[in-house]
């Protein structure tokens, strides 16, 4: 058993768990934060995306015990009914989902992705490695390629993200 201190959405938790417990399973099964979803459990679908120390990662591909002392933000920490984050509200306004299973991962991923773009990070589709001036739909799609939506709500997901990122279509 490993003892790990995690700060999740501003609240400190002491976790006592087997070394095999992933951060995803710690959040869902040990801390009861079931907003973060398990899709493929192999880092291919992005449903488990959370923000650790300001960076989006796949919580299924990291062990909870590797994150002793880390600050973690999950979908529950971004907003809640009556107090939605801008992206959460935009996903509702643009109907950016159908079944909703991938949505927490989409929103956590997009939240951190917008910060990456603001920091000037280029992407595979950026013509200039200095980074894009604004997030085109092509840029949004490329930067969100780690989040799959089996309902294929992609057009509306891009619309929602574009509204918040202030990009050009």
């Amino acid at each position: 058993m490993e003892t790990t201190e995690l700060t999740v959405n501003g609240k400190r938790h002491e976790l006592e768990a087997d070394s095999r417990v992933t951060l995803l399973d710690a959040l869902r099964n040990h801390l009861g934060l079931t907003g973060t979803k398990k899709g493929c459990d192999h880092g291919q679908c992005g449903a488990c995306t959370v923000i650790v120390e300001g960076r989006r990662i796949n919580s299924c591909l990291t062990l909870a015990c590797m994150h002793d002392g880390d600050e973690i933000t999950t979908i529950e920490g971004l907003g809640e009914p009556g107090n939605l984050s801008d992206l959460q509200a935009a996903f509702v306004a643009h109907d950016g989902f159908q079944c909703g299973y991938c949505t927490p991962g989409q929103i956590c991923s997009a939240t951190a992705m917008i910060e990456e773009a603001k920091a000037g990070w280029p992407s595979f589709v950026s013509d200039d490695l200095a980074g894009p001036d604004a997030l085109s739909d092509e840029e949004i799609s490329e930067r969100m390629s780690g989040n799959l939506c089996r309902c294929a709500a992609y057009p509306n997901i891009v619309n929602a993200i574009r509204q918040v990122a202030g990009g050009k279509s």
Partner: protein
């Protein structure tokens, strides 16, 4: 996942001594944990090296860059000097994986990632890389993603990464610290092995060896291009990729450093191809001869036969782009 013990390394000596005693390093873990869940890999002991002081990018005395082994792929690709002076490296890293994975994956870990051969991943199948001596199912099986160069009767798996392909073209070197505390530099092009009779060994690391950095030589002249061909537009491994650093002198090719991904058990570099180009005027005939040279020993295994024609076209397209007039220096 099979049970394992977990320990955090306090310093490099602690890390290497534990690894010499049969423990496995974990850094980003994005490939290792995937393989542990499938029980393709089942280490008894994990040593977490994430807290070691190896996460900085700094300039070397000769004007190159030292990229710490724990620098994330995201940070390396976004580093201002990498973007400005080694754009082929930024482009290669950005061509791989997803934003989430690049945030976690490290420079050292990326070099050590395992093949994505389907049979290596499927523990119900024989695989000489996973279980030496059990056979190779890919030889007569589905081998669309497999090697056309440097393979053996034991293994036709490919090294799947992009980053190391660019580093190979840039003549970068891997800095390795042994359990005895000795530090050595190994060119990235010599880091990975060909499979031969021992495909279980991906690279030249010995027990206890810790990758501490990748060293990029001083800036090189010429145009840098990374081209990747894959089965979908994003977030897929290369069927064929090519990193090129090509310098022109007037209307002739002054130098060419070319490395290929997705074709072999290691990033592929063929100096005979480069020698054939140097001093020559770019032409379709010249590039065709370069492709002939590169692919002289190429062999398909059925589903991957197309890679031979594909690689020829990638080589010609990239060299055409790299040598066209007005190409930025």
């Amino acid at each position: 996942m099979k049970p394992f013990s977990y320990a955090r390394a306090n310093d490099r000596a602690d890390a290497t001594s534990q690894a010499a005693d049969d423990a496995t390093f974990i850094a980003g873990g994005t490939n290792l944990l995937d393989l542990m869940k499938l029980e393709v890999m089942a280490p008894d002991r994990l040593v977490d090296i994430n807290r070691l002081d190896l996460d900085a990018i700094s300039e070397t005395e000769d004007g190159g860059l030292r990229i710490g082994a724990l620098v994330s792929n995201s940070d390396c690709a976004a580093h201002v000097r990498v973007r400005q002076v080694y754009p082929v490296l930024s482009r290669a890293i950005l061509a791989g994986a997803s934003g989430q994975l690049r945030n976690k994956a490290t420079t050292g870990g990326n070099l050590c990632q395992r093949t994505r051969c389907y049979y290596f991943y499927d523990t119900a199948m024989p695989c000489n890389k996973r279980e030496p001596g059990s056979g190779c199912q890919a030889l007569q099986g589905f081998n669309r993603i497999h090697a056309i160069l440097g393979a053996s009767d034991s293994c036709i798996a490919t090294y799947p990464g992009d980053m190391a392909v660019a580093m190979t073209a840039l003549d970068a070197a891997v800095e390795i610290e042994s359990a005895a505390g000795e530090v050595r530099l190994v060119p990235v092009r010599d880091f990975h092995r060909l499979p031969g009779d021992h495909p279980e060994k991906d690279n030249i690391l010995e027990a206890g060896d810790l990758i501490t950095a990748v060293i990029l030589p001083p800036p090189v002249k010429g145009r840098q291009i990374y081209r990747k061909v894959r089965d979908r537009a994003s977030y897929a491994f290369a069927l064929c990729s090519m990193a090129a650093v090509v310098e022109m002198d007037g209307d002739r090719i002054a130098s060419a450093a070319l490395a290929f991904g997705g074709l072999a058990h290691k990033p592929w570099r063929d100096e005979a191809v480069e020698a054939l180009l140097v001093g020559e005027k770019p032409s379709a005939a010249l590039f065709g001869r370069a492709a002939d040279q590169l692919l002289a020993e190429a062999r398909g295994y059925g589903s991957n036969d197309f890679k031979i024609a594909l690689t020829r076209r990638v080589l010609i397209a990239v060299l055409t782009e790299a040598t066209q007039e007005g190409a930025a220096a």
